[in-house]
Symmetry: C2
Subunit: 452 residues, 2 copies
């Protein structure tokens, strides 16, 4: 009985799909925070290489994947597509559930799909070093892995509290040759000024971003790299959905619903965006974003211009946001704790092309454990959100007595998140739901921004 | 450029290869420790189901893999075979290096290949629960994973010091529904008597085996399960080598040398045994076992009858051994810290059909880091031993200016062993080598055994 649907290396996609050409209306431009005017390419040059700036705004429907990138992808791509027969049986559902297994990458998640591309384009533009920030370490480890293949150095600013408490992802980055500094560090003006006031400051993602950006703009040969939100990041992730479509076609299937968890939006974009042209030409396929009720950006946020970071250093993006000063409760799905969302995903939700739904922390862990016990793979806490939504679709199919094809993205495995499962079993996990009042308070900050 | 060589589910082996029919001479029989007489099938019945006892002594060259087992294998098998192009480039070698990636299983190692088969045969013989012991947790997690698919309970006795210090593999077992007890426990006579004398006893693998065996023999519906050493375990692992041969044939290759790390011998047997018939019919292929210098069973041990466990409860096996009371230094490759070896592997080394070599701890970590930085995947400390031997073969090929095809088994990934890499980077790893005198002392205990 076939469970794993492989795809031969020769059939790996040769181009990324650019969703910008199929949006229901054009994205509103990012704005320069100082002038309030639309950003020009030159505004991004201190941070990104020309190819990525071009991709950020491109109107080409397909962008060829460089051979050098394909060669590194070939270490784990094409990833398997699985028919979740064990889960189907456990649910006694007439639905056929498929999941794209991005846990197969050496870093254990989808993140290397863009890390490899970003490392390549920086390397060919003469850059010698990349900087980035990382919380729990998922993105920092993906970039440490990727830079390795193009002779780049990688400097990661890791939030101090994670640096101290989660040494394993730090070791992972070091195995791949990355250099990891706890943030706040004494390597940047920002870090030093924080340390001066509070030498034992635990750090934050916003602060780590500021340090990584400062390090990049103050060094000639250095650029900054971002793991989600931006258009070029989602572009690189479309290999996920392109492969999945090909694999489904091999077994004569087409999904009724496509599901991904959503923090900044990159894994969701990866699986869902390649279905946009079909949808535009009248095909019925639902696209579903799943987020935590603890950080309900798409389901409860405002659609407006906001900063990408807490420190107000980034351009203003038009997106769903809870406000850049919003600090989400400390749930285990760290990758979904982002106040904003990808502008592409935000627009799709705003225009009704994509749905959004939110779950509590405990019910998604329960879903993840059912998955592990029926399919074998232990999912990351983020991935559990997509699993919960897929299960709900399958249960609904059973209740309605309908066949249905469900596709979701298994964005990463949870082998470095086992402490979260431990906490679940001990009964230590809490269900957070933001009160409307809290959200109002979080959004109030946005009122003060000049642009809307 | 092709790196990953996949194999379609339809081409998964349908039968295990039984090496007992191709050994250079028959294995000497296991002996009953009480009588010193060869063991009969009835001696094993309290521990194992009929099918496994039959497989332990079978003279059939091929044993059909039950459909129910194939269906669970299909979750991650066939595993990919990789051409190690990055490593080849890093070594500037004319050798072509291939590795079979057993890290693809949900448990992250080759162990589920036999765990699934053992769970199945126990389930169909009416057993309701399996017991086993585990040190760091590799085998306990594989069995917890496997029992899940056949409605069996799984009770794991985990050495207390690991239970306390390595909570992540314990969480992993619990995610899959296994019940984990720190050993010594109050659940067995053996455990209670130890705790009475020393309530804070840290436990040992020998003690955990005794508890798991006692639990099995004192409960009607319960059997015991072993993760290495025995013939039926190596039998189940031959899917590794059978798939690898098929994948190599797809790209027109045949190995000059086949390499595996060796603790009890199961992953090495898995990759190497399927080459025995070719070797017997005159084909030139070297088979190489790699062990740590800290536990040099094959390279420095005696070939004699010995107990499988420290507590002298198991049958006597004819094998290479350092003596059942030998306590190897605490290296990070916990899976290679076994005083004995599989009787099949031992006989092959004894008869010159297989070579054996040993390395220091630090040089194998260095090899593993080179691998991670050129191939991406982070290997388990055990796997690093096979990698070091493969690198040495490739370097020799360069020095001799010769082409050569090297195949090794990537037995498992190291994502749950990152603390060992951390220790390596900090300079905390030691190179142990046993002095001949220590080995003499360890072997002296064997002299007292009646049988030889």
């Amino acid at each position: 009985m076939k469970r794993m649907i492989t795809l031969d290396t020769e059939k790996m996609p040769r181009a990324w799909y650019n969703a910008l050409v199929d949006l229901p209306k054009p994205l509103e431009p990012p704005l320069n925070p100082a002038t309030g005017k639309p950003l020009g390419p030159q505004d991004l040059e201190p941070l990104f290489p020309p190819a990525l700036i071009e991709q950020e705004m491109s109107q080409e429907p397909w962008i060829a994947i460089p051979l050098e990138v394909l060669e590194v992808y070939a270490l784990w791509r094409p990833t398997p597509l699985y028919r979740a027969r064990g889960l189907e049986r456990a649910l006694n559902t007439p639905a056929r559930i498929y999941y794209k297994y991005e846990g197969a990458s050496p870093a254990g998640s989808h993140k290397p799909n863009t890390a490899v591309a970003q490392a390549y384009y920086n390397a060919i533009s003469g850059i010698r070093r990349l900087t980035t920030e990382t919380g729990a370490g998922q993105w920092g480890s993906a970039l440490s892995f990727a830079t390795r293949f193009f002779g780049l150095e990688c400097t990661v600013y890791m939030v101090r509290v994670s640096y101290d408490q989660k040494p394993y992802r730090r070791s992972m980055m070091e195995v791949w040759g990355g250099t990891v500094h706890p943030s706040p560090s004494d390597r940047t003006q920002t870090g030093r000024s924080v340390l001066e006031k509070d030498p034992s400051n635990p750090g934050s993602l916003g602060l780590a971003i500021s340090e990584a950006v400062e390090d990049a703009v103050t060094h000639e040969d250095t650029h900054y790299s971002l793991g989600s939100v931006l258009n070029h990041v989602l572009l690189h992730q479309t290999v996920i959905g392109l492969e999945a479509k090909e694999q489904l076609a091999q077994v004569g299937e087409y999904p009724d619903v496509v599901i991904g968890c959503c923090g900044g939006g990159s894994n969701l974009g990866g699986i869902a965006l390649p279905f946009l042209p079909d949808k535009a030409s009248g095909k019925e396929v639902r696209l579903v974003a799943v987020e935590p009720k603890a950080c309900p950006t798409l389901t409860k946020g405002a659609f407006t211009y906001d900063f990408g970071d807490m420190a107000r250093m980034t351009p203003l993006l038009k997106m769903y946001t809870l406000g850049h000063s919003f600090m989400p409760p400390s749930i285990h799905a760290g990758g979904l704790r982002y106040h904003g969302d990808s502008p592409i995903i935000s627009l799709l939700v705003r225009e009704g092309v994509m749905e959004a739904t939110a779950y509590y922390q405990r019910e998604v862990f329960q879903a993840g454990i059912l998955f592990a016990r029926s399919e074998g793979f232990i999912p990351a806490p983020e991935t559990n959100h997509a699993i919960k939504a897929a299960i709900d679709e399958a249960v609904k199919a059973r209740e309605e007595g309908k066949e249905k094809v469900v596709l979701f993205n298994f964005s990463g495995h949870g082998l470095l998140d086992l402490s979260a499962y431990d906490a679940y079993f001990k009964g230590d996990l809490q269900d957070y739901e933001l009160a409307d009042e809290e959200i109002k308070r979080a959004l109030a900050e946005l009122e003060k921004l000049a642009v809307r």
